[in-house]
Symmetry: C2
């Protein structure tokens, strides 16, 4: 399949008081709109089913677990899969996953157009911290509530297209795109919840933060000749502003669709996956140009080692 | 040292008929201008001493070797080092290097402010091809005339700042910046000669090509919390247009100085290296956030492996 109509379903805020049912209803409304615009795959944000709870420090396990799904689909999410199946629309969205073994991950799934889950990704680059931080304007406790993903960066051939997933902070790390690019990825789906304010530097403005988000996704797309769909949960959620800036980026690194609001908003682009081939076979023909013998530091050391 | 005034000496075209002496005289004029503006380190382009000769297919060894330096400094380049020493200015520039063993590299050097060579880098990501390509609008034979660099991506502490070098096509590869970033780099110096036209896709315009260049340098700077100084040789060289777009990028990824012409032109920025610390200790604190156990593909496979 050469052309494929991709939708990004940016979501406005999910308040803590909102039920899963209310939130799923909004996701279904976005899905209907997408169907009306010919969308064949729709991408929702990270933690689409809940508020961005890592902003709060919690010690009570039951309080934390209330934000997690123990099955997917479950009773509250089944309508998403059922309607997607009827509409012949593949979907991808993020949620907090609690496994039968009691492990916690920041997860996203991908379905085919028949409503079957064909892929799962667990966020690898967890930002923030694990204990209460008195120095921050607000908390960012992803390292407390989630384990780092244990599935690597897989890809799937879905509806003829090589697809991969990443979540939020993953998008700032070139390793994310490169691990996918080395598997021939043509479409990277990426949901995020990004505070509009830097909890450690209040002077950094929204404009700067949107720039960093877009820069990272554009570079990842260009340097791996892949489409990137980056979709936000946005707006003021339980008193905390999340930035929008959802975009679809083409394999040349250009933004081809962009959300204008911080609310539920669908963006759409017809993606021509034949466009991935030019970069992959010329300037970014990895086999001809990469020199892995000089890259050893990238996998041998996690942190900086200053030797001079 | 916290603040350091960095200059980028973009150069207009070097015609094949221009002598080294004429070219060095232009470099010296840029150095004088830099001194007048308080510059403490000036960065010149890739292959600063010659025309960009890989655009021509040559079989005669002597014809090729005429573009190479066998010593650095040599008689024609010594005045650069002497004047830099007098002005207490560190310099970096690129040239074609032929070693005593007869090996050929696309090289750049770095001096301290006393005019001593303290660093050498040999270009790792050679673009283009090694044999005459009838499909191209013009040739790009770097793989014919140079070996890939054999020095890795070293850094040096020079005048108190951790500095690294890269050359031209290296700037499009996130591995370049990451290998330097993992050594704590604070300033990446990067010269380039980039045709204004894609030899394999004439529809790609200058604007797109400038965007790709800038995008790559901005992402590399942001994702490694380092200054990047990217300096072009520009203008119509022996009938072939080279793009300009020289920039200095700060550790947040923002352009803080930019060349406006395709001629000899100095750009200047006062670099506050304390600004590198915030990113390196928060969002890009590699030791806390990188997950090298999931990056193995980056060093285990050069090319794409499609398994789905």
């Amino acid at each position: 399949m050469a052309e494929f109509v991709v939708g990004g379903a940016q979501m406005g805020p999910n308040q803590k008081a909102d039920s899963r049912k209310m939130i799923v209803a909004r996701m279904l409304a976005l899905m209907e709109e997408a169907a009306g615009r010919g969308v064949e795959l729709v991408v929702y944000p990270e933690l689409a089913l809940t508020t961005f709870f890592p902003r709060w420090y919690m010690e009570n396990e039951a309080e934390v677990d209330a934000f997690f799904e123990t099955e997917m689909p479950g009773p509250e999410t089944a309508p998403l899969f059922e309607r997607a199946r009827e509409l012949r629309m593949a979907i991808s969205f993020g949620y907090a996953e609690k496994t039968p073994e009691g492990r916690h991950f920041n997860t996203s799934i991908l379905t085919d157009r028949a409503g079957n889950i064909v892929g799962k990704y667990r966020k690898i680059h967890l930002p923030g911290h694990s204990e209460y931080d008195t120095e921050r304007a607000f908390q960012h406790l992803e390292k407390r509530y989630f384990e780092p993903g244990d599935l690597g960066f897989p890809v799937w051939r879905n509806e003829g297209v090589i697809m991969g997933m990443a979540i939020c902070n993953d998008r700032r790390w070139p390793e994310t795109y490169r691990c996918l690019g080395l598997q021939g990825v043509e479409l990277v789906m990426l949901g995020y919840n990004t505070p509009s304010v830097n909890s450690q530097m209040s002077a950094e403005g929204l404009k700067e933060r949107l720039f960093h988000s877009e820069l990272s996704m554009q570079a990842g797309a260009y340097q791996n000749s892949t489409y990137v769909v980056g979709i936000a949960k946005a707006g003021v959620e339980d008193g905390h502003p999340l930035m929008g800036g959802s975009i679809i980026v083409d394999p040349d690194g250009f933004v081809v669709a962009r959300a204008e609001s911080e609310e539920d908003e669908l963006i759409v682009a017809s993606c021509d996956f034949a466009k991935c081939a030019f970069g992959k076979s010329t300037i970014f023909d990895f086999a001809r140009h990469r020199r892995i013998e000089h890259y050893q530091r990238i996998t041998e050391q996690a942190g900086v080692i200053v030797e001079v």
